[in-house]
Symmetry: C4
Subunit: 197 residues, 4 copies
């Protein structure tokens, strides 16, 4: 199987995931402005998940772009495994939004984020294994501090849901921002700090 097929299929699934999430934002039954207020948590959790899926779509391409050899069975199933966890975003997003960021739905939301991060890491390993010691991805990944930090953040968020309710949400937003801000500026800032301290 060629790489372009895998990309096209993954693009299709991700495009559908990002779009069906909005089906959980149901039109309110009344026509007053007051009927919009209860939709706010659902809207906010939709925005958060939209950004996460956008980040995964973006990173997924860089990952497959780095793949130099053909698609092995391991890569194919590691990819489907990642798509599986991404496919759970709409339902956990809806559950968290409808319950106004209650502890249990927020923890389950974080758990699915965590599993998607692990699935992404497994796909990264499968590609590096397929490309062998000269893998371009292996070198790039050495600096992947975001990929290493994110799962720790998710675990912290899951644990915190039961004590400090909004800490978990703050962590989810923080991790999304970490990925949104272009790397170069952050790295330059980090380098700058390292040189001057």
């Amino acid at each position: 199987m060629g790489k372009s097929r895998l990309e096209a299929f993954s693009d299709g699934v991700i495009a559908i995931i990002i779009t069906i999430m909005v089906l959980e934002l149901r039109a309110p039954h009344g026509a007053d402005v007051g009927t919009l207020a209860p939709l706010l948590p659902a809207f906010l959790s939709y925005v958060l998940s939209f950004v996460y899926v956008g980040i995964y779509w973006n990173n997924h391409h860089h990952l497959l772009h780095a793949l130099e050899h053909g698609v092995s069975g391991a890569i194919l199933w590691a990819n489907l495994h990642l798509l599986f966890w991404l496919s759970l975003f709409p339902v956990t997003t809806a559950w968290m939004g409808e319950n106004e960021f209650a502890p249990m739905p927020s923890a389950v939301y974080g758990f699915v984020l965590l599993m998607a991060a692990i699935a992404y890491w497994l796909l990264e390993r499968a590609i590096i294994a397929a490309d062998g010691p000269s893998s371009v991805l292996r070198r790039a990944v050495g600096k992947d501090w975001k990929g290493k930090l994110s799962p720790l953040f998710y675990v912290a968020a899951i644990v915190s849901t039961f004590w400090w309710r909004w800490v978990a949400e703050a962590i989810y937003v923080l991790v999304a921002l970490l990925w949104l801000i272009p790397d170069r500026r952050i790295e330059r800032a980090l380098n700058h700090r390292a040189t001057h301290s």
Copy 2:
């Protein structure tokens, strides 16, 4: 990331948006012709939104077609930002249709149209910035009177929903028609008037 990937993903999301809107047109419960009548407002708002999404799909291509350089991070996220507002069309269309064009849903519908227009403009800016001073799009956009007028029309429509209920709907239809009618004829007409007045 190549331009063709961005196009394919955007095409996928827009194809899904235009199709899931129809899921809000639920089959009536009875089997008489009378059960169709309450569906009429939902049907009309579906037609309006279908035309708008069609226009955005069409214009989105011309925009990306004009892009000469690679896809920057700014373009990627400006594009996702546009898709975000387009993804809200199904829910606002359903809300407006189910409430028979009541003021608040019509205003929210106009607000999403306005935000999509702004997101489109931001994407235009991101592409011009990436292509630099020699950008083809920069020159083309100089004449973009529709792009400049549309947001003003949307604001007027949003304001008018609370006083003259049907003016807002008339404006939404008018702006859609403005974009539907091929440019050349309008420009020729405008030129003709300009020359003879």
Copy 3:
């Protein structure tokens, strides 16, 4: 806009239409075999519409394949117009199935089939107009007896729903079969008959 974009977008929309129709086949609430029986009309109307969308997908390709020049604005909107009527298949299929082929839903189902056939004919005209007198499609269409007969059949079916309930359904099945059976055999049969009579 290139022809391949138009094909890819149309393919996406048609793939979604054919798949969301199945969302109207809701899982029954009980777990007995008896709970399946009420689903039978919905299942049959799903099968019928699946075949129709398959036929449209197939014919749509032949149509665009025949297009020799670029995609004009008229072709683009004629294509969106066809997709619009196809997008109404899921809701009319569900309405007809849930009401066990009652007259009014069956007539509306036929009306949408009729409008799709007219939209297909308009797209054909737009392509012939774009390609000019030497159009490949113009010559091919000369023999298009199916395209000319189908709308008449649909009108007959719509009228018949109110007198002979099952005649309409029989006509819908007949027209689908007409398109399913490969042309060559039919034409050979018709030629054979013409020669011997």
Copy 4:
């Protein structure tokens, strides 16, 4: 019609099927951990069907990859026939999950698996017929013991649903595992056994 169109359309439909299955996993109404428990059967049947659709997607490509000549009408409709049965996965998955693997929904689930396997076999035949005696697929298929065993397993599972409830589920899982485990190892193991017995 080119092979790539058929692949792209099938990819689109399969991507949508695999993603809309998750729409049947509805967010629970409460926010306690206890509200998740009733979702477990639905979740497990989703996992099972996700794996099956993944397997079909994977095998479908190998099948079309083997096709050397153009897409005949028979291949086109054999392919749509396969997509038809795959499109019923979401509804049978939901029915089985919501009824906690009750006999009748499990039998119907197995019936759809069986029909998909038969449709796959028919598509295989159509491709071999199109490619003629020198068909690459004909030779590859000679060893297709999985393809020949699977329908027998499904029939056994359907029959067993009414006597030993969990045997059917165990068979569905077993067949999925058979397809998941890479062929080479199994064949090596079988060869090894054959040599030593």
